[in-house]
Structure formats: C-alpha cells, structure tokens
C-alpha cells in the first residue's frame, strides 16, 4: 500500500492492513509534528509533494525493501498539506516473520524515504515566519 494523502492518516487502520497470520512481527513507524526544534517553536507544518515522482520513488523503495528482507506486507503513507502539532505526517508499517528484520526494514524505509522521495516540509514558526526545510542549504 503506497499512498500520498491530504487527509489525516488512520495509522491504526494502516497497521491493521499489514497484519498477517504469517507474520510474527509488525513494526509501525509514525512521523509526527514536533513543537520544538531547539528553542524554536513550531505552530504548524505544511508538506508539499511532487506526487507523480514521489509515488514512483516509494514504489521503488518497496521493491528494494522486499528484495532485502522477507517482508509479508508493507505500507508507506505520507500526508501532504497543512498539519497541526502532534498530527501524523508519515506512516511506515512492515510485517515480517521475525522482529529483527521488521525493525531493520522499517528503519531503512523511513530513512531512505526521507532522503530520496520528493516531499518537502515547511515550518511555520511562532510569530508567523515560514521556512522550507532544505537540509544542507544555508539560509540565503
């Protein structure tokens, strides 16, 4: 299951989708909107995706992960649009026969997703200042 959605993600339902009697381990990762980055206070986040390419890259991640680990079911769901504090921005859910492989696959999927899938986040800081998060890019 690969999805980009503008609505709140029902992470329990996503987790339920990957459960299987063949699995001995289900690992679900949630990315959520954090209030403080250092001493800067976030009031909201906005995510933007290049959806056509993001879906393609997410499908490639699924394919690569399935080659590396004995994955039974897998779900990658990313939220776009405006998010409030505490809301879920991304869900990675993986079921495998054993826990170690499910932890590894889940961790690799979220780390790689955040590096290669074209989805960006904009911080809306307290006071109204907005800032795109582009790692490695010095304020210009």
């Amino acid at each position: 299951m690969i999805e980009i959605t503008g609505s709140p993600i029902d992470y329990a339902a996503v987790t339920e989708r990957v459960r299987s009697p063949r699995a001995g381990a289900v690992c679900t990762f949630l990315g959520t909107v954090r209030e403080f980055t250092g001493d800067q206070r976030t009031v909201a986040l906005a995510y933007e995706a290049y959806a056509e390419m993001a879906l393609k890259k997410m499908a490639e991640l699924e394919e690569q992960a399935r080659r590396r680990w004995p994955i039974i079911e897998l779900a990658l769901v990313h939220r776009v649009g405006d998010l409030e504090l505490g809301e879920v921005s991304v869900v990675v859910a993986v079921s495998c026969p054993h826990r170690q492989e499910s932890f590894e696959a889940c961790r690799w999927l979220i780390d790689t997703l955040k590096e290669v899938v074209p989805i960006w986040k904009k911080e809306i800081w307290e006071g109204g200042r907005e800032e795109w998060v582009h790692p490695g890019l010095h304020p210009i």
Binding site: E48, E52, M53, P118, W132, P135, G136
Partner: protein, 303 residues
C-alpha cells in the same frame, strides 16, 4: 498481410529540387517514410518511383530500395499521384492481394514507426473501414484502406483522386485523432522544409518547481523552449538566466527528468517533464543516497 503503396514519381516542382532526396537527420525523405512503414509493421512497401530517364529517378529508386521497399519504375512519368497508386495496386494484385493497403505520399517527414503502428492497430480493430489519422480536426496521412475499397481506385472518374474515393464511403470511415502534427505535415516548398527543420530543432519541455524553488521562481511551472541536444546542465543555465531569484539555490537542487533524478549530462528530449527538486526534508543535504541511485540508473538517461 498489410501492404503499403507510396507514390514517389512526382517532379517536386514547388520544392525546386528532388524533395524525396532531401536529407533529414542523415536519411533521405523517401528512405525515412519507407523505414517508418516497415518498422511500424507493414509487410510489402511498394514505392512507385519516377521513370529511369527522369532526373534523379534512379537515385530515388535506390534510396527507397535500400530502406527496404519494392520499387516500381514506370516507363513514363504517371500524370497524377492517383496513377502512381494504381500502378502500385496492380503490382500487389498480381502478387498477393493484401488485407489492407496503407497509402502515404513520400513527403511526410514526421511519420514515425509509432504512428504507423497505431494506425495499423486501429485498422485491425476496424478491418472494413478506411482509417484516417487527424490532427486538430484536419485529416492527414497515412490512410489505411481495406483492399475491397482500395481496388475501386481503378473505377474512379478521370481527374479525381484518393479524396474522391474516401468521399464515396462516408459511412466506412474510422478517424483516429492523434496529437502529432506529423500526420498533416508534408514538404512541398523550401519554406515548408525550413519550418519543419526549425520545429525539429526546438525542444519544448515543461519544468515544475517545488518548495523553496517554487517560492523563489514565483510560479509552480513553466514551459521552456530549448535548443536541440540540450542537457540537464543547459536547463540549469536557462533557469538561472530566466529566474535570477533562484540564484544560489540552483546549485543545490537536482533536476528530475520524467520523474527520475537525472545527471548533468542527461539529454533532454521533446516533451520531457522536468522538475526542480530542492534537497528533501530528511536528507543529509548532499543527496548522497540519491547520488548512489543515480549512478546505478545513469544508463537509463542516455538515449
């Protein structure tokens, strides 16, 4: 079996030189058309060439032959295009009458194997109909005629052509609307040729902007016209010039071509979907992992 007849006996009066020998991308015009028909799935391609004693007649015949055509060289120049088509059909009738016949003049430079294959696929769905391609509502070439209708050419009144034949069968037409102007573009004059070459040399592409790049450019997309043979690095240069506000940001972005990260020397083809990709939110900022993916995929961008 599907056969094709290409009337190529004309004298290119308006072009001022033998147009079927005009070279486009290293191939003669007649050779291009024959190749497109053959690669698009036509069995026999019958080219009706000028008589052997006509200026450039033998060269046209040779070019058609080397592209895989069966060439008919008439004793005297056929008066009309329709007469050439009749000669081609007679030859086919004597050998094995095909199920359908593709007719196309030899001077349609943009006809590709893909266009031919699309028409044949459509003709297979409507085997008893005349299949005509159109572009923006204009009918063009190649047309595909069921054999039973093609042979009616012989009974057309003098002075009428293939259009009259099509007009006889208004209920048997299947029009295929295509998005390629090639089906209505022929080369009759030096101006036609010049315009066609210019069109070929320009690359029109769509570029989308995201995140900070979108804010800086002040828009989410733009259509760019690039010189033929442009690469990703050239796109960067054009964007830097058009959008000074992108400034140093451009050095940090990746360019995607058709939803894939592309290297700097990847060639851009017409109609490519480009996107400016600033570093994504969870990355290390140097696209190090993307770089690895890119190295693996690099071959895919070199067409």
């Amino acid at each position: 079996m599907i056969a094709a007849v290409v009337p190529a006996a004309g004298s290119s009066v308006r072009m001022g030189r033998p147009k079927l020998l005009v070279e486009l991308n290293g191939q003669s015009l007649i050779g291009r058309v024959v190749s497109a028909l053959r690669l698009g799935g036509v069995g026999h391609v019958v080219v009706v060439a000028p008589p052997a004693d006509a200026a450039h007649g033998p060269e046209i015949a040779a070019q058609a032959r080397s592209a895989g055509a069966l060439v008919i060289v008439p004793g005297t120049r056929p008066a009309e295009m329709r007469d050439s088509i009749e000669l081609g059909l007679e030859w086919l009738a004597k050998h094995d009458s095909p199920r359908s016949v593709v007719l196309t003049p030899g001077d349609y430079p943009g006809i590709t194997p893909a266009i031919v294959a699309q028409l044949l696929e459509y003709a297979a769905r409507f085997p008893d109909r005349v299949v005509l391609p159109s572009y923006n509502g204009r009918r063009g070439h190649p047309i595909v005629l069921p054999w039973r209708i093609a042979v009616e050419v012989h009974s057309l009144p003098a002075g009428t052509g293939i259009n009259a034949l099509v007009a006889r069968h208004p209920d048997d037409l299947a029009e295929l609307a295509l998005s390629d102007h090639a089906v209505v573009t022929d080369l009759d004059t030096p101006e036609d040729l010049k315009r066609w070459k210019e069109r070929q040399e320009r690359l029109r592409v769509q570029v989308r902007f995201f995140a900070l790049a979108k804010d800086r450019a002040g828009r989410s997309e733009i259509e760019l016209e690039l010189a033929g043979g442009s690469k990703v690095a050239d796109v960067r240069a054009v964007l830097a010039e058009r959008f000074p506000a992108l400034g140093p940001l451009l050095a940090t972005v990746l360019i995607a071509v058709n939803e894939e990260y592309a290297g700097e020397d990847a060639l851009i083809s017409p109609g490519s979907r480009l996107a400016v990709i600033p570093p994504v939110s969870g990355g290390a900022g140097d696209f190090s992992r993307v770089g690895l993916c890119l190295a693996r995929q690099k071959g895919a961008f070199r067409r």
